[in-house]
């Protein structure tokens, strides 16, 4: 996977397309009734999560299978402080807490690469889940009801805004000095540090940054379900879905996670209610197919069609 470094043309079209697209979908979601409001909410949630994941894992090649931990920590902070501090404060705090957690664990966790890193991030998320579950049950709070949460439309505005911000961050980081350093880390860490790239600092920063928006999303989605349950907000399926969307859409390019989220939600809308078994069978087949035949995802396929073979960027 290559990050496009075509930074000569202005970024205005990409930025405006992202914002206009998001506003249109929000408008459609709200006007077409509550069902579609929820569909739009889910779409933006997955875009924000996958985009944030891509900021770290897509750019550095360290595949995190524990990104739900950020989501869960954000949800937990918002649920615990619900009605004590206002949401406009607790949701950013949830993001901050997730980022802080990532910053603290980054140094030990980022010492390992490849499959070890994948397993470690997965294990870490499970560890946090069970520690919180134990804490909550000890204090007799296995789940918390959150009465008086904002309406779905309000949550949609927040989540859509975060999806736009996450997309723009991935887009701009990809063409920045920071992004180029991360690409060097992905390609060869020893060579990178030998030509002056502060490898550890870049990895830690990207890891922490990629947790902030998922933390805020977690807080918002806890409001959406109107109750907080540790097992639900730390569900590893969320991590798996993020990685699946990134693989199908393609990581390392800001358009990839959008395509991945659209593809998976489209498939779910078509089949979920009518043929749920078929949905999972197809999802599995698509995942295998993409890994084998289109490792750079949908965005890789589009780029390949646009360019004659042999030429690059």
């Amino acid at each position: 996977m290559t990050i496009p470094f075509i930074s000569t043309n202005s970024s205005l079209p990409a930025v405006s397309a992202t914002v206009i697209g998001a506003v249109l979908i929000v408008g459609l979601g709200v006007t077409m009734g509550s069902y579609w409001t929820v569909v739009a909410l889910n779409l933006f949630m997955w875009i924000a999560l996958t985009q944030s994941w891509s900021l770290f894992s897509g750019m550095t090649g360290y595949i995190s299978l524990g990104h739900v931990v950020a989501y869960g920590i954000g949800a937990y902070l918002v649920a615990v402080t619900f009605k004590m501090i206002p949401l406009w404060l607790s949701i950013p705090l949830g993001g901050l807490a997730a980022g802080l957690f990532a910053l603290i664990v980054a140094i030990p966790v980022l010492r390992v690469r490849g499959p070890y890193f994948v397993i470690l991030t997965f294990g870490l998320a499970e560890l946090v889940k069970y520690i919180l579950l134990y804490t909550e049950t000890t204090f007799g709070k296995s789940s918390r009801l959150l009465f008086g949460a904002p309406k779905t439309e309000v949550l949609l505005y927040w989540v859509a805004a975060l999806a736009v911000i996450a997309t723009l961050i991935t887009y701009f980081v990809g063409r920045s000095r920071f992004g180029k350093g991360l690409a060097a880390v992905r390609e060869d860490e020893t060579a990178a540090e030998t030509i002056g790239v502060p490898v550890t600092r870049l990895k830690v920063l990207a890891f922490a940054a990629s947790a902030v928006i998922p933390g805020m999303i977690g807080g918002l989605m806890a409001m959406r379900s109107t109750y907080f349950d540790v097992l639900q907000v730390f569900n590893p399926t969320i991590s798996f879905s993020i990685v699946t969307m990134a693989i199908i859409g393609g990581a390392g390019d800001a358009r990839g996670p959008i395509l991945g989220a659209l593809f998976m939600l489209g498939l779910a809308e078509l089949l979920w209610s009518t043929a749920p078994q078929l949905y999972f069978i197809l999802l599995g087949l698509f995942l295998i197919g993409f890994v084998l035949f289109a490792p750079n995802g949908l965005i890789g396929l589009i780029k390949r069609r646009k360019q004659p073979k042999g030429s690059v960027s």
């Binding site: 060869d188 540090e193 030998t194």
Partner: protein, 248 residues
């Protein structure tokens, strides 16, 4: 004046003494050759200077400042750049992007991101890779990859360039080209070069001074001519020369 000054440097890997009390001075503006058989400790010495490995004991001064214990990226910013014997291109990025990253991170005062591409193109022209700058680095031939190692090292604007066998595996024509390119960039960038090379003709051709390592010890130092005539070097490379005895 010596740009790089190594004093009593030793490195142990467990029980193995890879380098033993090496003292070495590299004169500013010179080409200093390092020779020795496989396992003599040449690449280990490079790795320690560049910060990829730590010395067990000893000090390294660069431009009068100690650089022991600095991380590789910090050593690079001080003005030392190395190439790798086993080339390590960023294979998934283009040739130009490889050099751009070196320009953006290796220099003490990096240029703007928008200026890096043009600067990279200049360096690639210096080293004869400019026609391939849009190709993925992974598609280069060995000769191209060796050149890219040099171009990327130059991107960091080094004062001291350490070349680890950049001519190994090249054809004689490619070796001649590489020597010409190195001479050119040495003059245009005002470089000091420390070079490991097994292609002996290239080493003697380029070096002002040669240091010979053998089993981690420095056994000789001098001009290429002095080294060729040195008894200890001959012994290390060819064994002890015993006079033939006339049959009784």
């Amino acid at each position: 004046m010596s740009l790089l000054s190594i004093k009593s440097l030793s490195k142990n890997f467990g029980g193995l003494q890879a380098l033993n009390q090496i003292t070495l001075d590299v004169t500013e503006g010179s080409v200093h050759g390092l020779m020795g058989a496989n396992g003599a400790g040449k690449t280990t010495l490079f790795s320690i200077i560049a910060g990829n490995q730590r010395a067990t004991t000893g000090t390294i001064l660069f431009a009068g400042q100690p650089i022991n214990g600095l991380r590789p990226d910090q050593v690079c910013k001080r003005g030392i750049s190395r190439t790798f014997q086993i080339v390590r291109p960023f294979a998934g990025l283009t040739v130009r992007e490889n050099v751009e990253i070196a320009i953006l991170y290796g220099r003490q005062t990096p240029p703007k991101v928008s200026e890096a591409a043009a600067l990279a193109q200049d360096i690639l022209a210096d080293i004869g890779l400019d026609a391939l700058s849009d190709q993925p680095a992974g598609s280069l031939t060995l000769s191209g990859r060796k050149r890219l190692e040099v171009a990327r090292a130059l991107g960091t604007e080094p004062r001291l360039l350490m070349l680890d066998e950049v001519m190994a595996g090249l054809t004689p024509v490619e070796v001649t080209d590489m020597i010409a390119s190195l001479r050119r960039v040495k003059d245009s960038h005002g470089l000091t070069i420390l070079i490991i090379e097994h292609v002996m003709s290239a080493l003697t051709d380029m070096s002002d001074t040669i240091t010979v390592l053998h089993h981690g010890e420095k056994i000789a130092q001098g001009t290429p001519k002095q080294i060729a005539d040195n008894a200890a070097v001959q012994e290390a490379y060819f064994g002890i020369a015993e006079p033939l005895e006339a049959p009784a």
